[in-house]
């Protein structure tokens, strides 16, 4: 018979299964997979490989490898949290999960694992394109660090997505996420270097969390002063914490409205 004791191995299995099936579910959802995986690769091919070929040196190709990686990671984190949470909250799936004896935090863990797996896939696709077609040359340590920044970079955007998902309806969520995602990535110099954009955009860029994550990746490539990294990390941690707390308050308030 069931007692109060629940073995740790069984508990870990809950988290692993949640993560695995959340990933497989989104892998089957074309409206999520196609834009998340294709857009960063397509944009990199267009701006980094086709248009970048006219400029020598490989600096632009490396810059865009870093920034389209961040662009891709933002996409999976914002959509993977923002849209799914909004829909699951609205349709009552979150309520069912809360009523079931799901271990604490398993749902957030599952979504974070899912987004990190997608971030890994995007990193591998971009690295392959960069190394083969764009002729980007990096040290093994740089490849690994770039990969680590991408995977960990999921966290702040997952928190922003979570926040959006708790605020807006399931139907509005994709549009709202796009309204945050696309302008923010453009204005923080992820689509093309800030140096080729008007000065005003460059001056305002530090407002966006994506700017700070982008700068960390560029520091890995030596295109940015690495002395600024702790500051960028601090901004991203503050964003994560702020959004997470706001989302938690939203969810707690939603409980008080309750059923009829």
């Amino acid at each position: 018979m069931s007692t109060g004791k629940f073995p740790t191995a069984r508990l870990l299995r809950c988290y692993a299964l949640e993560g695995k099936y959340e990933f497989l579910r989104l892998l089957r959802t074309h409206s999520f997979v196609l834009p998340s995986l294709l857009f960063p690769a397509m944009f990199y091919l267009l701006f980094g490989v086709v248009l970048g070929a006219r400029r020598g040196g490989g600096e632009l190709q490396a810059y865009l490898l870093a920034t389209y990686g961040i662009f891709g990671v933002m996409g999976v984190a914002l959509f993977g949290f923002g849209v799914t949470i909004a829909i699951e909250r609205e349709r009552g799936f979150l309520t069912l999960k809360r009523a079931l004896p799901m271990p604490p935090g398993a749902l957030l863990f599952a979504k974070l694992a899912m987004a990190m797996i997608f971030a890994t896939i995007i990193s591998l696709i971009l690295a392959t394109l960069a190394a083969t077609l764009a002729g980007v040359l990096l040290d093994p340590a740089q490849w690994l660090l770039l990969f680590a920044v991408n995977v960990l970079g999921v966290v702040p955007f997952a928190a922003i997505g979570l926040c959006i998902g708790t605020l807006v309806s399931g139907q509005a969520a994709p549009a709202i996420v796009n309204l945050v995602y696309l302008p923010m990535s453009f204005l923080s110099g992820l689509w093309m270097p800030l140096s080729v954009l008007p000065d005003a955009i460059g001056r305002f860029a530090p407002v966006w969390p994506s700017y700070h994550l982008g700068r960390i990746s560029l520091a890995v490539l030596g295109q940015e002063d690495s002395g600024g990294v702790p500051g960028h990390v601090a901004v991203l941690l503050a964003t994560t914490l702020g959004c997470f707390l706001l989302a938690r308050r939203q969810l707690a308030n939603a409980e008080q409205v309750g059923p009829g």
């Binding site: 018979m1 069931s2 007692t3 109060g4 004791k5 629940f6 069984r10 299995r13 809950c14 299964l17 949640e18 099936y21 497989l24 579910r25 989104l26 089957r28 959802t29 799914t84 829909i87 699951e88 609205e90 349709r91 009552g92 799936f93 979150l94 309520t95 069912l96 809360r98 009523a99 079931l100 004896p101 799901m102 271990p103 604490p104 409980e255 008080q256 409205v257 309750g258 059923p259 009829g260």
Partner: protein
């Protein structure tokens, strides 16, 4: 009359709950016992979902106490012994049935095997299908499988047979009865009074956040002592309505319909006054009539 002393598995004691200015529950007492099915009935907005939400730990009571296995329903250890089927599950379309079952089984210490879950809920051959591609009835059966997969000692079923055809509904009823026989405490909310009549050991009627009646199906029915007499007669409704034991009389599609407190005297007088009276029927009030009467009285 089955006042039992089986173990209390879940309880609301003097529970009050408000949403802003609106009172959802007002001093509600409710007990679920092992091996008994309690049907919670009431019109929309009576507080049924709130009562279920409190026992599931989804909501916090403003006053009074909600307990599950003697502890707070929020405690994971209490919830590991309960199963739940909510009115709207909102399960993602792209999840496969087998995946949903495997994840939910992993939450419990001693779950049923996949095969056992599938056969109990009638999901054979559906484990590899995506949830969104199932019919409404199949989706309800998946939700039932998720509710029972952990061998729960208490089972909450919120409108479980909505949208099911007769055959699936009776299949689900059989599965629910089996759980009750095995000692599970079941709480059922339903709009189908025949469902409560078929399954319930005890009935609790809620109206406007208060318990207006509780007892066995028979006891609830007895709240309405009235009988309904129908016949074809040349006597006018107005004439019969003036008789002392008659509460109400009317002519409906050629038949005289008479509502009385006690049938015998009225039937005797009807036969005496109209020798050609035909197609005489006397009916006892069902749960449906009792329910309407109870919720009307309290309103």
């Amino acid at each position: 009359m089955n006042i039992s002393h089986a173990a209390v598995t879940a309880e609301l004691r003097g529970v009050g709950k408000r949403y802003g200015r609106q009172t959802a529950l007002d001093g509600v007492d409710l007990v679920l016992r092992a091996g008994e099915l309690t049907a919670l009935l009431g019109p929309n907005g009576a507080g049924k979902s709130t009562a279920v939400g409190l026992l599931l730990g989804l909501l916090q009571a403003d006053s009074g106490v909600a307990t599950l296995f003697g502890r707070s329903p929020h405690a994971l250890s209490s919830r590991r012994r309960s199963g739940v089927m909510l009115q709207s599950a909102g399960i993602p379309d792209a999840s496969k049935v087998g995946e949903l079952l495997e994840v939910t089984r992993s939450y419990y210490a001693d779950p049923c095997s996949m095969a056992e879950c599938a056969s109990t809920a009638g999901l054979e051959g559906l484990l590899d299908r995506r949830y969104g591609r199932l019919s409404g009835g199949q989706q309800r059966r998946v939700q039932f499988a998720l509710a029972i997969c952990g061998r729960p000692r208490v089972l909450f079923l919120d409108e479980p047979t909505t949208g099911l055809d007769i055959e699936s509904r009776q299949g689900l009823w059989r599965a629910i009865r089996t759980r009750v026989e095995q000692g599970c405490a079941v709480m059922l909310t339903t709009h189908y009074l025949e469902e409560a009549e078929a399954l319930a050991d005890r009935v609790v009627v809620l109206n406007r956040g208060r318990v207006v009646a509780f007892g066995s199906v028979g006891e609830i029915r007895a709240h309405v002592a009235q009988r309904r007499i129908r016949c074809i007669s040349h006597l006018s409704a107005e004439h019969v309505a003036a008789w002392p034991e008659v509460r109400h009389a009317s002519l409906e599609s050629g038949r005289l319909q008479i509502v009385v407190d006690s049938a015998e005297g009225v039937v005797r007088r009807l036969l005496a006054e109209d020798a050609e009276l035909g197609e005489l029927e006397v009916q006892r009030a069902g749960l449906a009539e009792a329910f309407i009467e109870l919720t009307r009285e309290a309103a």
